[in-house]
């Protein structure tokens, strides 16, 4: 006579808090998701709780619900992406929305009026939600000021990637049962990483302790102002970490050499089997992908028992469904008022 959980998360300790039925936030008021910096802890928790409900849909044989029937979700990607765009498209399709991709190379269309004009044209085709990735930080914010559609930031330069931050939070919470009080290491190219910034905002708001770790050129001391600990020696901090999020070396954003060689970087910062032995036995290893095998982590570690890389992809779908669902409610309120 018990109601069994259909998803049955692997960790025993965390299930009770993950399945908590009450959300402190009774209604969602935002129209856009531009970054985790703007969100309150209650709003972040509301997204995670909603995502938890959506995770169940992906376990069904018929993975589709009619919630967003008749809505149009446009993907505007001005920068390369495989997983994020696919994940957003699939999330929209599972909610029965129509999806349309619009992509262009960063060189032909990058900023200013042309960008807004493009978006306005897409809006004229009836877009209800625009999922935007752009190399310029703040581009989604600019767009949100000029279009009536809901705007979701799918990565703007080195600024934020909020849905990646949210899926990292969801993965940590499902595995550990909590965020508060955990020590999370963000490893690697922090200065170029929008994933790092979204992680820092989200984790800080939910009460985790963050250690940024990497060579000084990629992890400047000034980042301590974000409320994080900054470290340069991975082997020193590894034993203290409950979670390590391994960020990709962004070769495309590095115009000048910020470390002497890839080999030297790997020597000091690659997650190897040897380093795993320094860490806690229940270390959770995340990586936003794409991963450079043999640079940030060895193949054995990437595919090993600590790795939650594929759980992150699965949770990303649930998080994006939750975000589309919550924002679309606000969007519908707007159209109802103008009718």
């Amino acid at each position: 006579m018990t109601i069994a959980s259909p998803t049955s998360p692997s960790s025993g300790s965390g299930t009770a808090s993950v399945a908590a039925p009450t959300s402190p936030l009774s209604s969602w008021t935002r129209k856009h998701l531009l970054g985790l910096e703007d969100l309150s802890a209650a709003e972040i928790m509301a997204i995670l709780e909603t995502a938890q409900s959506f995770a169940e849909i992906s376990t069904r044989s018929r993975k589709k619900v009619p919630a967003l029937q008749g809505r149009i979700v446009f993907n505007l990607f001005f920068e390369n992406s495989t997983r994020t765009r696919t994940s957003f498209s699939l999330a929209a399709k599972r909610l029965s929305a129509d999806t349309q991709d619009f992509s262009t190379s960063a060189s032909s269309l990058s900023k200013g009026e042309t960008f807004i004009d493009t978006a306005k044209n897409i809006e004229a085709m009836g877009a209800d939600v625009m999922v935007v990735r752009h190399p310029t930080p703040g581009a989604p914010h600019l767009l949100a000021q000029h279009v009536k559609a809901s705007v979701i930031n799918a990565g703007d330069g080195a600024h934020e990637h909020p849905t990646q931050g949210l899926l990292d939070l969801m993965t940590i919470r499902k595995a550990k049962g909590r965020i508060e009080g955990l020590t999370v290491g963000l490893l690697g190219d922090i200065v170029h990483s929008r994933v790092a910034r979204s992680n820092i905002w989200g984790l800080t708001k939910l009460g985790a302790h963050i250690i940024l770790c990497g060579p000084p050129t990629l992890v400047p001391r000034s980042m301590e102002r974000l409320g994080c600990e900054v470290a340069n020696r991975l082997d020193d901090i590894l034993p203290r970490c409950d979670v390590v999020n391994v960020l990709r070396i962004q070769f495309e954003r590095q115009q000048v050499g910020l470390f002497p060689s890839v080999g030297e970087y790997s020597h000091f910062y690659m997650m190897t089997e040897e380093r795993i032995r320094l860490a806690r036995p229940d270390l959770l290893l995340l990586a936003p992908g794409p991963i450079n095998r043999g640079v940030e982590l060895t193949p054995e570690v990437a595919d090993g028992r600590h790795s939650a890389i594929l759980d992150q992809v699965t949770n990303g779908l649930a998080v994006r469904m939750a975000v589309l669902y919550l924002l679309s409610g606000k969007m519908e309120a707007r159209t109802t008022q103008t009718n």
Binding site: I3, E56, R62
Partner: protein, 192 residues
């Protein structure tokens, strides 16, 4: 507001209604199919769990309960001012070929049941679905009728009927809340 509440049933009477429904459901079941209860969130779930207690006594075996959240299947999604909070569907058994009794506290327009049927049918193809409600208050807007009813209650369309059940509510009762603007001689609906 509390002063307008008319208490129709208290805990003891509710207990009796649930026991009666349990016996009828058990007698009318198809013996060749696996049998499950599914409660409609929110108050259909504790009601289904109470029915399962009754049925477990009759069956001498545990009766499994699921929960369906109809939010994503509502026909008025986004039309209200508040965007409903999602609580999630939890059905941990295969619905294919099963006998399912869908359980809700109050049957009114039938729109909730329509949504719940769509949600369940997205999980598979049940052998048979029957509908059990504690209160049928009439005023259907869809061709949906219950198979098992605890209480037939004539109401005005503008009335509200509330079922309060443990553990969600401190006191167990069925109440009718009469709208302030309701005429003194209401047009009572015929109840099947």
């Amino acid at each position: 507001m509390t002063s307008d509440e008319e208490i129709l049933c208290e805990a003891e009477e509710i207990e009796r209604l649930i026991a009666g429904m349990g016996r009828t459901i058990w007698d009318g079941r198809r013996r060749d199919l696996p049998f499950y209860l599914i409660g409609v969130r929110t108050r259909g779930v504790p009601l289904a769990q109470r029915l399962a207690q009754e049925l477990t006594l009759l069956a001498d075996d545990e009766v499994v309960v699921g929960a369906v959240d109809i939010t994503l299947y509502r026909d008025d999604l986004g039309r209200g001012r508040r965007w409903p909070v999602l609580r999630g569907t939890e059905i941990a058994f295969p619905v294919d070929g099963a006998e399912i009794v869908l359980v809700d506290d109050v049957l009114f327009t039938g729109r909730t049941v329509r949504a719940a049927l769509n949600a369940i049918c997205d999980l598979g193809r049940p052998g048979r679905i029957r509908l059990a409600v504690l209160v049928d208050r009439g005023h259907r807007e869809l061709p949906i009728q219950p198979d098992f009813v605890g209480l037939h209650l004539p109401t005005d369309r503008s009335d509200r009927v509330r079922v309060r059940l443990h553990p969600l509510d401190p006191v167990e009762e069925i109440v009718r809340v009469v709208a302030a603007s309701r005429p003194s001689q209401p047009d009572r609906s015929p109840v099947p």
